[in-house]
Amino acid sequence: MKAVRLRVALTAALAFFLAATAGHQAQAGAGGIEAKFEYCTTCHGPSAQGFRGFYAMPRLAGQQPQYIENQLHAFLERRRLNPVMANVAHGITPDMIPALAAHMSALNPPPVGGAPAGDAALGKEIFTNGLPDQNVPACSACHGPDARGQREIPRLAGQLYWYMVSTLSIWSSERGQGGRQDISWIMRPTVANLTPKEVQALAEYVSALR
């Protein structure tokens, strides 16, 4: 009886050892992903909360995984023109993209904040109801009333203020270069109908959302 117990214990120990080794190997495989994630956060902030460098690096935390995947492909296919990110995307293998996107979307740090105080009430009005007289639809119609986005439509909640301002200001020269089939194309008339003051108000409003 004692011998049986010992054998069971040994078998259990062996099984545990094998499982631990297998787990370690799986982790070593994911080490590529882990290292790549660390690379992303060099610029996008330690918790992917976004960072204002010389250029504004967007928050990726909590972002819709399908949006991240689509944008990485857009950099590679030159549907979105961004010299820094085109290089970065070439250093990410296709099999890494879903894992990175999933990793980013699972993070939930608080917004960076720091937006200059402006007309956040105007931002909320544009986000919720749009500006019908200017042909600006309500952002919430696609980005959701909570600004969390869906599928290839990005989350805006908690996005870095300076990134929101810059990306809306240069939209048509950077995005939607692939034509109408590119989902970013749909934003072109909308951003053209927003004044800089309205862009700032919108950016201030969404940058504070959690």
Partner: protein, 203 residues
């Protein structure tokens, strides 16, 4: 005598309105003793001329708070910053940031081309981020992010080596960046930057 009085009045007014420091003010001389009379850097002490004002303010606070802790900072700058009142600190940052910077040009010119590629594009396959994303395409810096163009090779190389060894862990994300670089890549980036012009219209 009248002339003298007028001069003193003008001096007093200009001082009271701008608070601007002069090269022979004691607080400036305390800095230039090590950083060079025109603040272009001298031996281990980096160039301050043309450095970003917000960066200088931020770093002086970090020395005083013992947050920036690489060896030479603990040895010199912790003491130097310990007794600066906030007005003097801001005046010093304004004074040095307004001086025209000169490029050290003391790196290895044979490595500069490789350094330029790392600075502008990074090395995506090796998870090395592009320096320009934060420091700007002309290495001019912005706000609390320092201007790197034209700093001395020895200073740039030393700082990257210190970060890679775990010193000044406060300087996020630089420890991570420095650890991603090989010794040759550090030498290349430091060489390239030492030749970059210090002047830029962007502030």
């Amino acid at each position: 005598m009248k002339n003298f009085r007028t001069k003193m009045a003008v001096l007093a007014i200009s001082f009271a309105t701008t608070g601007a420091l002069q090269a022979d003010d004691l607080s400036v001389r305390n800095c230039t003793w090590c950083h060079g009379t025109s603040a272009q850097g001298y031996y281990e002490a980096p160039r301050l001329a043309g450095q970003r004002e917000d960066y200088l303010i931020n770093q002086l606070h970090a020395f005083a708070a013992h947050e920036r802790d690489e060896f030479l900072s603990t040895k010199y700058m912790w003491n130097a910053a310990a007794h600066l009142d906030s007005l003097t600190l801001r005046n010093l940052a304004a004074y040095f940031s307004a001086l025209p910077p000169e490029s050290a040009k003391d790196g290895d010119s044979a490595l500069a081309a490789e350094g330029k590629i790392i600075f502008e594009d990074g090395v995506p396959n090796e998870n090395i981020a592009a320096c320009q994303a934060c420091h700007g395409p002309e290495a001019q810096g912005v706000r609390e992010i320092p201007r790197l163009g034209g700093l001395s090779y020895s200073y740039l190389k030393r700082r990257l080596e210190e970060w890679s060894q775990g010193q000044d862990a406060w300087g996020i994300p630089m420890p991570k960046v420095a650890r991603s670089l090989s010794p040759n890549q550090i030498a290349a980036v430091a060489s390239y930057l030492s030749f970059v012009g210090g002047e830029s219209s962007e502030k």
